[in-house]
Amino acid sequence: MDFKRQSMAFTTRISLLEKLRIGDDPSWEEFYVLYRPIVFAYGHRFGMNSLEKEELLQQVMVNFFKVSDEFHYDPAAGKFRNYFRQIVKNTATAIWKRKNRGRKTPCLPDCSNEFEAMEQEAWHGLLLHLALLELKKRVEPQTFEAFYHYGLQHRNVNEVADYLCMTPGYIYTAKSRCAGILRSIISDIRKNTPEFRL
């Protein structure tokens, strides 16, 4: 029972990510949670209060989806990161200017260690999820399911075999195949984002 519930929870998470890619409403929640720390860190640097930070977050999401209605896996995540940073910075500047008419835009200090760490952590989480999503796209659904339960969740092979109506041999092969593909996806990510670590 618990096993089935956990399986369903995972499926929901994956489908949320897929919805994120196609721009469906439920993905906004995921997107919000994933990027909230980054956007808030920028708001903090502009001296915004919590209400203003929330406004910044909403405006960034609106601006992001205005210019990009698709959100595909891209090993060149560093480029996307810079692109997203720019959207946040421009939005924060626009909000600041609107509220401080006539005043000069503050000169932002260099990124603090705290900001860098926060941003790095959020990006890292995003890359892990995108790597898993990419793997899911590259293999058959039943292979992915077998891999997820046995390879990632470390469940007993016979339990997984019964649950998915597969042989243990199929599950072993699925794990090995998916591990190889995942290794290659991670390697692609590292080529463009050398600081990426598991």
Binding site: V33, L34, R36, P37, E121, H124, G125, L128, H129, A131, L132, G151, L152, Q153, H154, N156, V157, N158, P168, G169, Y172, T173, K175, S176, A179, G180, L182, R183, I186, L198
Partner: protein, 70 residues
């Protein structure tokens, strides 16, 4: 000499074989570099997957905490 398949070695590695089968496999591995190599690759896969799963879990927790705070 009959070599073990990758599936058989995975079963051995994960402890999903009988005591006797496990013993035979262990003895075989002592003398077979080819099967030891496959076993090493399987162990390496496990290390990668453990790190990956731990990373996902850490981020899930962090995101849930943020959700709760929000």
């Amino acid at each position: 000499m009959r070599h073990y398949t990758s599936q058989e070695l995975e079963a051995y590695r994960s402890g999903a074989v009988s005591i006797l089968s496990g013993y035979c496999c262990k003895k075989h591995l002592e003398h077979c570099p080819r099967c030891r190599k496959i076993l090493r690759e399987l162990i390496s896969d496990d290390q990668l997957l453990s790190q990956f799963a731990a990373g996902l879990l850490r981020h899930e927790k962090a995101r849930e905490e943020l959700r709760d705070e929000g």
